[in-house]
């Protein structure tokens, strides 16, 4: 569904992405993990149209979308839930969700979409009239994801959704992620919380130094020694002893 080839992108004179290749197939959940600052968010921003690539291509369902303006990318069905939630603080929860259905094709289905979002996140219906800025971190994250869903995405990209959340909130968020996947929406998840991401992902890519350094299924990477050492703080000797 999504094809990224030799993608280069950066800010000013700094090149962050130095030739990314990856694929996402329809219905999959793909995780993208890597250390801080390695380019995961930059990758999502480039795919979503906030940043223009300096080289390489991004193709969605056969259509080239690299360099397309952000609002046009959304119309094609690729929606990103940005890092840090970025809710409209001075609007109510309900209004935030409603604005999410701004895109042409999402507007007529707004009422229906709203019901579906409330299905996945009942707490949002409860707090519908509350100002988004007054919600807890976990609730804000749910609102942000819900807002993204309102745009009727075929591909939903989540940027660091577990950042700053208590473990129980993270658990709920990932329950919702599974629910979204079960509804047939393709997911790309960028995460620092590697264990959760790998558990839900079908496949995953590890990014380092602006490139893909490792890829495989979720299980393969969970068991990969380098990954475990680097991101999970664990290691396995051949005999199963942990490395201190």
């Amino acid at each position: 569904m999504l094809s990224v080839r030799n993608l280069h992108a950066g800010y000013g004179d700094t090149e962050v992405l130095q030739g990314i290749d990856l694929d996402v197939n329809q219905g999959e959940v793909v995780a993208i993990i890597g250390a801080n600052g390695v380019g995961k968010t930059t990758l999502l921003r480039t795919i979503s149209g906030l940043l223009a690539p300096t080289a390489g291509s991004v193709t969605f369902k056969g259509q080239p979308i690299g360099g397309m303006a952000a609002h046009a990318v959304v119309e094609h069905g690729v929606v990103m839930v940005p890092e840090g939630r970025r809710l409209f603080q001075r609007m109510s929860v309900r209004r935030n969700l409603e604005v999410g259905a701004y895109v042409g094709r999402a507007r007529p289905r707004m009422a229906e979409s709203l019901r579906e979002v409330y299905d996945i996140f009942p707490i949002l219906q409860e707090r519908g009239a509350q100002l988004a800025g007054t919600l807890s971190g976990g609730q804000q994250q749910m609102c942000a994801i819900g807002r993204g869903l309102m745009a009727l995405p075929e591909l939903l990209m989540l940027d660091e959704v577990s950042l700053g959340l208590a473990p129980i909130a993270v658990k709920r968020v990932y329950e919702a992620v599974r629910a979204i996947r079960d509804r047939g929406i393709t997911l790309v998840i960028v995460e620092q919380n590697v264990s959760q991401a790998l558990r839900v992902a079908d496949r995953a890519y590890v990014i380092g130094g602006g490139r893909v350094v490792l890829s495989g299924t979720g299980r393969e990477l969970s068991n990969n020694n380098d990954v475990r050492r680097a991101y999970l703080g664990l290691g396995l000797h051949e005999h199963g002893e942990t490395i201190p």
Partner: protein
């Protein structure tokens, strides 16, 4: 006691008028983060539009204001498409100078075209220029203008809250990046915002000309007042503009009664104090004054 009531009512009427004049400035600032230093000149053009409409066609500006609004909406589109579009993502001083330059341009074009003479129109039938309300002297022109202000402010709030475009405008003013991720085309929103902002300003001018003299440099007075109203009420908040206008109107009327020569200075002093102590005004959000287009 009578004096107090007079001051209050005069202040409220003046304040409503100030709020109407500042609305366009606030909208454009809240959404596009542009401080339009030519705002006063657009107001001046609105006043002249009202004047010429009445003088050439006999149509009363109170009736003709909607027409002027449409014309100024187009002017606003031109303003954005022809000039401001090139300043949006550039350093701030570009926007300052571009609007400053436009202001000087417009002011002097008006001077060349219409000379420095003071103009006004006589709308109310003689004898009906003011009414007596509880012993208070109420100029009818100001009353109509204030009425217009109330209706327009209400309409704008409804538009922003209920229509998709209005909500998109609010979304852009709160978080541009998030709005873009929702499929909002920023260029289109800026275009509409400038159109709307200038239209509101034009209407404000037209509705003001029966009460205030129109002349090419009248903009310099109003732009300062509008700045104070916007900062006082809170950047980006429409309700704040209404409140800010009322407060300023009352304060100015009071000062005008006690020390008429210093009336002008109160605007400046108020502005400096606000910017220093409470830049987000009465109803604005903290930190709004540090916002740039992100």
């Amino acid at each position: 006691m009578q004096v107090l009531l007079q001051l209050l009512i005069s202040g409220v009427l003046l304040g409503a008028v100030y709020a109407l004049g500042a609305l366009g400035l606030n909208l454009i600032f809240g959404v596009a983060k542009v401080v339009n230093f030519a705002h006063g000149e657009f107001l001046m053009l609105g006043m002249f539009a009202g004047y010429w409409l009445m003088t050439l066609t006999g149509i009363n500006p109170y009736y003709g204001a909607p027409l002027i609004g449409v014309a100024f909406f187009l002017l606003g589109l031109l303003f954005y498409g022809g000039l401001m579009r090139f300043t949006i993502y550039k350093p701030e001083l570009t926007q300052v100078f571009a609007t400053l330059g436009l202001g000087i341009l417009l002011q002097n074009l008006a001077l060349m075209a219409w000379s420095a003479d003071y103009r006004t129109v006589q709308v109310m039938p003689p004898g009906f220029e003011s009414i007596n309300f509880l012993g208070v002297f109420v100029p009818t022109n100001r009353l109509v203008a204030a009425g217009y202000a109330a209706v327009i402010l209400g309409a704008v709030i409804v538009f922003l809250k209920t229509t998709f475009t209005g909500r998109a405008i609010e979304a852009v003013s709160q978080d541009l990046m998030a709005a873009r991720l929702m499929g909002v085309n920023p260029n289109r929103i800026f275009l509409i915002t400038f159109g709307l902002g200038i239209a509101l300003t034009g209407v404000a001018g037209a509705v003001l000309v029966p009460s205030f003299y129109a002349f090419p440099s009248v903009g310099s007075f109003f732009v300062l007042v509008s700045f104070v109203v916007v900062v006082l009420g809170g950047l980006g908040s429409v309700a704040g503009t209404a409140l800010g206008g009322l407060v300023l109107g009352i304060v100015e009327t009071g000062t005008g009664y006690l020390a008429p020569d210093l009336k002008e200075a109160t605007h400046f002093v108020l502005l400096i104090l606000l910017l220093a102590l409470r830049p987000h005004g009465l109803l604005g959000v903290k930190g709004a004054e540090k916002e740039t287009l992100k």
